[in-house]
Amino acid sequence: MDNARSFLRAGAFALAAASASLLPLATQAAEPLKIGFSMALTGGLAGAGKAALIGMEIWRDDVNKKGGLLGRKVEFVYYDDATQPANVPGLYTKLLEVDKVDLLVSAYGTNLIAPALPIVMRKKMVLPSLFGLAANEQFKYDRYFQIMPAGPSPLTDWSKGFFELAMAQNPKPKTVAIVAADAEFALNAAAGARTNAQKAGLKIVYDKTYPPPTTDFSPIVRAIQATNPDIVFVGSYPPDSVGMVKAANEVGLKAKLFGGGMVGLQFASIQKNLGPLLNGIVNYDFWVPEPTLDFPGVKEFLGKYQEAAKGKGVDPYGHYLPPFAYAYLQVLGQSVEATKGIDQGKLAAHMRKSTFDTVVGKVKFGKNGEWAKTRVLQVQFRDVQKDNLEQFAGPGKRVVLYPKEWKSGDLVYPYKQ
């Protein structure tokens, strides 16, 4: 009897001890999984940054509806970097040291991704990255994964399609003008364009940069016109892109191919305002509502985005950045589930070897963390009507010319004569 009582007592003790040792685990399981990042919510890139955040929040809500990741609810810890690169190192240090986030993702844009990398590298964290052009070229960090489909050689892949399209024309163009803003992304785009132009045997007749606070672009366009180039490659930010397109129209630019790396022409408000001035321009893009790019889940995502974006003063259609903001978290989420944990080494190894199904199509990373194969689209604006926002919601206005596997139409050449 005594033995039985002792046995029961020992059993009860063991059970209590086991419960006590399990308690922290249970508490831990209930703790949210924190993903940290900074985002441009004010300042020059805030338009895109806020739209990206909406896309990211849709992913978070979708994941949490399905029970979260590793049974833990996903939470975001984020700060406004005010589009100031100088703010970024401090914010990522805070995320890691004070907020103790479990996972990190990058801010939006090259200028704001590069300053985070030294901090992230010191802690050996995986960094899914949102639209940094060649931001890892100097760092060569092996846990960096870029969702923008620039391709394995981001500098040159960016404008490769633009130059391939030009060189496929008959007669072949002979001269090119390259103009870019004095800022990280535009300078990188111009450097790649320079290499591609030289490879194609084009003579560079104008190669200059302009300071970002430029008000009137007509002197620049006129100086370009004076060199009589066949092609004009522009690396510009949204206000400059608008100024450049308007000046090209006012001056009567006679290039045969015009565009390439103009940020802003992907945004609905700018598209609506420029209207028919856009017709014929060939410019980069990453996703447009053409039938060749109808990936599983993308329309459903855009439906949610467009609902969430109402009244928030961001791009109403969200074709450009938000699907990729959703997708870089899909990559992270799928990796966490596959490795059943947040071990940064295992996550990085999984991201390097796997192909991910995302709303922007299948994503496979190459050795340097860029997409293994470029998918920078070159699209041409066609039949754009005046003052009509709705026309950009569907297909036909931004025809995909390049790469071939996503092509939805042929180049109309020349741009203007």
């Binding site: 805030a46 200059k208 430029t214 009137d216 007509s218 006129r222 100086a223």
Partner: protein, 291 residues
């Protein structure tokens, strides 16, 4: 690459651009140049003017420049109220130098944040029939997108100049800038006069904002890009001189345009500000300033 065609177009583009710069700087020429108030928030008021033009243009199709002109009286009242706060909080207690500067920094941030909260951060643009059209005389182009701001800015400068030199209040504003005590001894109220002048300076921001959005897209923080340029124009022209400010704006516009055309646009700020430094070295009071 040099040709008469390029030179003529560069000069014309510079004059048109300079006209717009004058609209941006004229409010500061009054507030900073004549009242010595470092209103760093002036470009933020210009952005408010641009948003008002955008709202009435996109909702009701009103001409943006007309909206700017109509909004100016309301801006005048707001400016007068802000001066009253500034006077009571800083000027009266002699803390206007550093605390006043911090106050206008604060005003600038508040304006930006309020605009972001209400209208978001997307780029805003306006539609008007003349935007995108050009007028060509010989081989020289006059894009209406730049010509309209130039014409309005020139008219605005002429009106302010006439007001300053031919009206009692205008002369009183110049007098308060020169000797506040002497003005007080004449029986005039310097605070009321400065309130008037500050209101007038802010009223011009409504018009400048409407011109800015005619030229290009606007988002809440874009005004910061004009802070340096606007102050430089006021200093170059000679603190407080309206005609000097206008000529300085034209010089800066022409220099920027010529450098953009013939040397490369990235050199234009360096050359323009180099010119400012050189002018100040030779004439510390600016081109038309009184020593």
């Amino acid at each position: 690459m040099f040709s008469a065609d390029l030179l003529a177009n560069a000069v014309v583009a510079g004059i048109l651009l300079g006209g717009f710069y004058a609209a941006v700087a004229i409010g500061l020429a009054i507030v900073f140049g004549q009242l010595d108030i470092v209103n760093i928030a002036h470009p933020a008021f210009i952005i408010v003017g641009a948003y008002i033009a955008y709202i009435l243009n996109s909702r009701f199709g009103f001409d943006p420049v007309l909206v700017g002109l109509l909004a100016a009286p309301a801006f005048f009242v707001v400016g007068a109220l802000i001066y009253r706060v500034y006077f009571l909080a800083f000027e009266r207690t002699g803390q206007e130098s550093l605390s006043g500067l911090a106050f206008f920094f604060g005003v600038m941030f508040i304006i930006e944040v309020v605009l972001i909260l209400i209208y978001g951060v997307d780029y805003r643009l306006v539609q008007a029939d003349y935007i995108g059209q050009s007028w060509r005389i010989g081989f020289v182009d006059f894009p209406f997108r730049m010509l309209v701001p130039f014409a309005v800015a020139t008219a605005l400068t002429a009106v302010i100049y006439t007001f300053m030199s031919h009206t009692f209040m205008g002369r009183a504003i110049q007098a308060v800038a020169q000797d506040r005590l002497a003005l007080q001894l004449m029986g005039a109220d310097p605070v009321r006069i400065k309130q008037w002048a500050f209101g007038l300076g802010i009223a011009t921001a409504a018009i400048a904002g409407s011109l800015l959005i005619v030229i290009g897209p606007v988002e809440p923080s874009v005004g910061r890009l004009y802070i340096g340029r606007a102050f430089a124009i006021v200093v170059l022209g000679g603190m407080g001189s309206i005609s000097g400010m206008f000529i300085a704006a034209l010089i800066l516009g022409i220099v920027e345009s010529m450098v953009s055309t013939f040397a490369g646009p990235s050199w234009s700020p360096a050359v323009a500000f180099g010119l400012l430094a050189l002018t100040l070295a030779l004439r510390p009071a600016g081109l038309f300033g009184r020593r």
